[in-house]
Amino acid sequence: MKRYSAFAVAREALTGHRGWERAWRRAQPKARYDVIIVGAGGHGLATAYYLGKRFGITNVAVLEKGWLGGGNTGRNTTIIRSNYLQDPSAAIYEKSRALYETLSQDLNYNVMFSPRGVMMLAQTEHEVRGYRRTAHANALQGVETRFITPAEVKKIVPIIRLEGPRYPVLGALWQARGGTARHDAVAWGYARACSAMGMDIIQQCEVTGIRRDGDRVTGVDTTKGAIACDKLGLVVAGHSGVLAQMAGFRLPIESVALQALVSEPIKPIMDCVVMANTVHGYMSQSDKGEMVIGGGADGYNNYTQRGSFHHVEETVRALIETFPMLSRLKMLRWWGGIVDMTGDRSPILSKTPLQNCFVNCGWGTGGFKAIPGSGWGFAELMAKGHAPLTDSFSLDRFREGRFIDESVAAGVAH
């Protein structure tokens, strides 16, 4: 793998950039792999990467029915934070955030992690108490957050309107080392690194069946033929239910559409991520200058990648209330992604009733931020059978009533 650097770019510039190699090899499936990961989104690719990097398992195929990074990895609002309330969530999201800090260097691919800060506004007394509690919890979890005053809010985000009129800003939970990253680059960077370790990333390869021997998985059928494996990881977000059905089990998952939109680009005006959960909206500004905006998810099962427009209206209304200067900007693009919501809105990283078949799904509206941590933990789970980061996120929690409920701290997750 040719290393990326400013010098390499300068050198190539002199020869018309003809020397750049493929970022990842074109691969055809082999008959057998030690591990097959289904789904070449961020989580699947990160899992493969850490299987290789941490456990030396490189006879790995990552199968993708479309194009890599083409699902929710490339359709989210790229927020990275770890200011979660419950211990298991804080652990995996903070591990993830910490990995993001050095991901560009690890992968030799600039994923543009920008720790510009994430601010969650408290606009009711109830929210103030919730975020104060989160700040207390975070202090013991090793997550650096702070509850800040309205004056500090205004200083960090000058375009905000503090005084309401409907919901005044009473303070905010501030995570200075939260931020954003370039979503496509995360998928591409992991893919390039996996490919360099000799793993096969096979695009346009849809899994059509799961092969088993009794209670044990033995491989998959695909549109490119049958492929055998010792271990199988299903990492397909909104389509987890469909894959689980092939594997013969059900999941506590419903797939719904989550919408996002961007404005036309403008010069830098906001240098952090702001989330306003009471009014249901969040916003950041991309490096390109677009205001990146998200809100709530539709409440009904949906695989269409388009949601209902009234949710967009609600979100935009909420943000104009919070940032009145948005009013004369224009919405450039609006899209939806299919997110997999679990019974407690926390993810599932778990063994399944089918031996050697593992599932990583249920990230709901907040999967992007978790990609490195999820891959780190899930690779360990697949390699060793258990992992401190993922053990609490097992499937059996729904039977035992052992939920990881984050709705306490935030009405909207993402």
């Binding site: 083409g70 211990d87 992690f113 010069k267 209304r317 948005l326 900007l329 919405m331 035992e400």
Partner: protein, 1006 residues
């Protein structure tokens, strides 16, 4: 240089002038001009700078597809960035400013990027700026952000003074696009008698036809358009709207319309924009087609324009692009531009036709007019930097060796036409590749479908891939008839008008000019003009394995600019497919997302701004609180008084005073926001037994019982007092936030699980106000008001009475959330203020004191009463709160019972409710956690409890708190260590009984 011609311009009113400014210079135009036509008329060929390389750019198009001519409009609160000059109608006093340049449009420092462009290929930022780590955030990123971003941001404190509104519109047939196809489709559909809405995004009807010529039914297109409009006007079932764009198509026939009412007339009364939410049975997309540029080196220079745009400016606005216009094309249509330019008395030194055989009748007409036509030729490169001086021509088949230099000051290019398929695609309609036209067009076999599964979108005319006027009109007529028939209408048997236009020779696709252009030329051949994506960038993406069109788009940013690739997508796709050596349909097409062109945020928000953002629910006593200085707290949609500070008092002092007054004499609370749900019917008791953890069916009429409600998942969701009004009727009180939620919860179970039970529910929350009279003098007050026997014997604790109080019909509940002698008086909402005023008057002798939510909270905490949302957070079961007494052991079943039997719920190690008292009497921080030694597997500090409510108790003079602690009730007297939110500072607190005040209930039971 571009200029205003002496004659012509069908859309402008030459008799009048309007003045406007561009970058501070005053210029003039005519009513009917767009900002773009007026700028061109003023000789302004340089109007903006590109996104990445800051290259000088001029107007290239004449409509919504314009990528270059973006300006900042207006000033101050009305400033709008990124407005397209081509769709901005000119008005007197318009102020426009160029974008993305510093210090000025002419001398832009950022243009250094252009010189460095070879070091900034597609995706360069993924490969650079990796080391040192901290530099991305602090050095590289700020630089990139600053040079990107296009338009200036509105002022930090800008407050848009304009109004926006929403319309709902239901129609049988919606026709989008007011060109000849749209007019014909609307006419045909309208003749069937169905309701038709025809919308057009620009300010005039007829689209391109008047510019392109030909005849319709023997008339000029302009005359035919006039006649057809007249016919449509005469149909009462047809509605016509200009300046209304079909912006997005959604499921089940929902179309978003974006109407710009005042952008061209800022002083007009009414809203600036209007968002239409249209529901249509059938949608005809007559949205036309967009011309493609040709990829040749220097095609982005100011002065190089789309051929159709050059023609539009001549015919519509009487503006020439230059004196000497070279036309370069791969199809016949561009000859119309050569002819129009020639007819305007200007020079066309050459038409370069990339096709070896050239074109048909239009070419012959051009040649007959004396225009030199060179076939098999293209442009190798463009000379001149700011102003065009000429073009080097070359063989299209070759590698770009210049054959001849032709002097010119403008170039008109045409690479063919792409149907506007956006709306078709928004909701799942699929496309098919049309080899002959080299374009994607709607695939009628895979149309978007409506709720009934039938196709509900019909593409018509040029938007459906039709080329000549006659087939466009026939197709539109067919679309109108199909729509009418689908909806059960009977279309008239009138047939499509006859149209005539010169026959055209086939187009020859040109995806690179010349086809064998070397890297040096490819690196100057632009595909996406705004984002500076060149042919070489797409080649690089393909070379690096970004083979999916979505990958290439994201890697190069092709099609991601504010024009969303209207001009660039097909060219980019074709270049990619050639690089991959795969057919275009196999490489695919990118997804079209709404809106068609950017829609103002203000329009999306509509009227719901400021005070109308969300409705405020007001209790009947709201105004009294307002006039008595309430400090408000939002609670759901309500506002409740947090406290009533007096002059010089802060809120802490006010709360303390309110509590002292209440505990000492008499307090008064507006409890109207509490939910009040009547549950009635022979099975009401049985139903409530399922809903509450307690036994409610055994409650006697006239008595009250505190009840707990759990979700089926076992968690506590609400609490409140239930009163049995008679054998069949219960009144369930809920929390303020719970009224609607709990009512819905009840209805859900009643309607979908126990639908055979005879029970009705009604949410009467707003029908009754509830006034709590609280304190040692409460009974005296009620006796003074008179009408109801409130003696301890007649109205004991947890009983209620109905009757007249001070002449008002009331229900008086003797219940208490404060530990004081307390009556909650329910009164019809309309009489609440009168009763409240009487109470305030009568209570004066006991210094009656209104108190707010905070005093309420403190007093309940002093008594150890839990509060939903404080002690509960969706993860707490009643057993955690020591509320086992309120869980019936006799019942076989209630909602949540099975869930509470799961292993994690019965785990003795769960955290349970305790009282907490700091050793130094201070107030524990709300939300603080109690720590134990060591860390867990993930390195997080181990914890054993947390604070759920914490207050200073003015009654007791020290801090009090409630919390959940590991095996808490078993550990009375133990000291826990809580941490402040710095994670370091410890506060010690002792586990105590949560009832801090009057544990015997002496004050309440009097």
């Amino acid at each position: 240089m571009s200029t205003r011609l002496a004659t012509g311009g069908r859309l402008i009113d030459r008799s009048r002038q309007v003045s406007f400014t561009f970058d501070g210079t005053t210029l003039r135009g005519h009513p009917g001009d767009t900002l773009a036509s007026a700028l061109l008329a003023s000789g302004r060929t340089l109007v903006g700078r590109s996104f990445k390389y800051h290259r000088p750019r001029g107007v290239i198009a004449s409509g919504a597809e314009e990528p270059n001519a973006l300006v900042g409009l207006g000033q101050g609160d009305r400033f709008e960035p990124n407005a397209r000059a081509t769709t901005t109608e000119l008005f007197d006093g318009l102020q426009a400013a160029s974008q993305n340049c510093w210090p000025s449009l002419d001398y832009d420092v950022g243009a250094v990027n252009a010189a460095l462009s070879r070091f900034l290929p597609a995706g360069f930022y993924y490969k650079m700026f990796i080391h040192p780590r901290a530099f991305w955030k602090h050095v590289y990123e700020p630089f990139i952000r600053h040079s990107a971003g296009l338009g200036r941001a509105p002022a930090v404190e800008a407050r848009d003074p304009d109004r926006y509104e929403h319309f709902h519109h239901h129609t049988d047939v919606l026709v989008v696009g007011g060109g000849v196809a749209g007019l014909q489709a609307a006419k045909t559909a309208g003749e069937s008698g169905l309701r038709v809405l025809l919308v057009e995004q620009t300010g005039h009807w007829g689209g391109r036809a008047p510019v392109d010529g030909g005849t319709i039914d023997g008339k000029t297109p302009e005359d035919w358009i006039g006649d057809t409009l007249q016919a449509l006007d005469n149909m009462p079932n047809v509605t016509l709207r200009l300046r209304l764009q079909g912006a997005g198509l959604y499921d089940h026939g929902y179309v978003l319309g974006y109407e710009r009412l005042a952008d061209h007339a800022p002083d007009a009364p009414g809203p600036r924009h209007r968002l239409w939410r249209i529901r249509a049975g059938r949608i005809v997309t007559a949205t036309g087609a967009i011309e493609r540029p040709l990829p040749f080196a220097g095609n982005d220079r100011p002065g190089v324009m789309l051929a159709s745009a050059v023609r539009d400016y001549i015919v519509n606005w009487g503006v020439s692009a230059g004196d000497r216009l070279v036309v370069v094309t791969n199809n016949d249509d561009a000859y119309r531009t050569a002819l129009a330019h020639h007819r305007a008395g200007l020079t066309v030194p050459a038409v370069l036709d990339a096709r070896p055989e050239g074109g048909g009748a239009l070419m012959a007409e051009a040649q007959a007019a004396g225009i030199r036509v060179l076939t098999g030729r293209g442009i190798a490169q463009v000379n001149g930097t700011r102003a065009l001086t000429g073009v080097e021509i070359c063989a299209q088949a070759g590698e770009g060796t210049p054959l001849e230099t032709i002097a010119c000051d403008a170039v008109a290019m045409s690479g063919g036409w792409s149907p506007v398929v956006h709306l078709w695609s928004h909701c799942g309609g699929k496309l098919v590749w049309d080899e002959a036209a080299a374009a994607f067009r709607p695939d009628p076999d895979r149309a978007p479908i409506g709720q009934d599964g039938a196709s509900n979108v019909i593409a018509a005319g040029a938007a459906n891939g039709q080329g000549d006027l006659s087939s466009i009109l026939k197709d539109a007529e067919k679309a109108g008839k199909t729509a009418a028939r689908d909806l059960g209408g009977t279309p008239s048997d009138a047939s499509a008008p006859d149209a005539e236009q010169p026959a055209e020779a086939p187009l020859a696709p040109v995806w690179m000019m010349p086809q064998g252009a070397p890297h040096a030329l490819r690196a100057k051949a632009f595909l996406d003009f705004q984002n500076d994506v060149k042919v070489s960038d797409v080649h690089l993406a393909a070379q690096e394995g970004f083979e999916s069109v979505e990958h290439t788009k994201r890697y190069t940013t092709l099609g991601m600019a504010t024009d969303q690739g209207k001009m660039s997508n097909i060219n980019g796709l074709a270049v990619l497919s050639r690089a991959l050596n795969a057919p275009i349909p196999q490489v695919g097409t990118t997804t079209f997302r709404p809106p068609y062109t950017p829609v103002s945020m203000g329009a999306i928000a509509g009227e719901a701004r400021g005070p109308l953002f969300q409705p405020i629910r007001r209790t009947p006593l709201h105004d009294w609180h307002e006039t008595h200085g309430a400090k408000w707290e939002p609670v759901g949609q309500w506002r409740r008084p947090y406290c009533y500070p007096r002059a010089g008092e802060d809120k802490h002092a006010a709360v303390a005073r309110e509590i002292d007054a209440t505990r000492g004499s008499l307090g008064l609370l507006d409890a109207s926001t509490l939910g009040k749900i009547v549950v009635k019917g022979p099975d009401a008791g049985r139903f409530l037994d399922m809903l509450y953890t307690n036994m409610m069916s055994t409650l006697k009429p006239g008595r009250c019982r505190y009840g707990l409600m759990c979700s089926e998942n076992g968690f506590l969701i609400d609490d409140g007092v239930v009163a049995r009004l008679d054998d069949d009727t219960f009144l369930c009180h809920t929390t303020t936030g719970g009224a609607d939620r709990i009512h819905a919860h009840m209805e859900d179970w009643l309607q979908t699980e126990w639908w055979d039970w005879k029970v009705y529910t009604a949410n009467l929350t707003e029908q009754f106000a509830q006034i709590a009279v609280v304190g040692p003098n409460a009974r005296k007050l009620l006796e003074k008001l008179g009408g109801i026997d409130v003696s301890a014997e007649t109205l004991p604790f947890m009983a209620f009475a109905e009757g007249q109080l001070a002449g008002h019909p009331v229900r008086v509940f003797r219940i208490s959330f404060s530990g004081e002698l307390s009556y909650e008086i329910a009164v019809p909402a309309g009489q609440a203020r009168a009763l409240w005023d009487r109470i305030v008057d009568a209570g004066a002798e006991w210094q009656i004191t209104p108190y707010g939510t905070e005093a309420l909270h403190v007093m309940r905490a002093e008594k150890g009463f839990i509060m939903i949302g404080d002690e509960t957070d969706g993860t707490v079961i009643p057993q955690d709160l020591g509320l086992d007494w309120a869980i019936s052991k006799k019942k076989d079943d209630y909602l949540g019972k099975r869930a509470q039997a799961r292993s994690h719920m019965t785990d003795p190690d769960r955290w349970k409710l305790v009282g907490l008292k700091t050793l130094d009497g201070s107030v524990l921080p709300d939300g603080a956690y109690a720590v134990t030694e060591g860390t867990n597997v993930n390195g997080q500090r181990n914890t054993e409890g947390r604070v759920t409510s914490s207050y200073h108790s003015p009654t007791l003079g020290h801090g009090i708190a409630m919390g959940l602690a590991h095996r808490g009730p078993e550990r009375m007297g133990e000291v826990l260590t809580f941490m402040r939110d710095d994670g370091k500072t410890a506060i010690e607190a002792r586990i105590v009984d949560p009832v801090f005040f009057d544990p015997e209930g002496a004050k309440q039971n009097v």
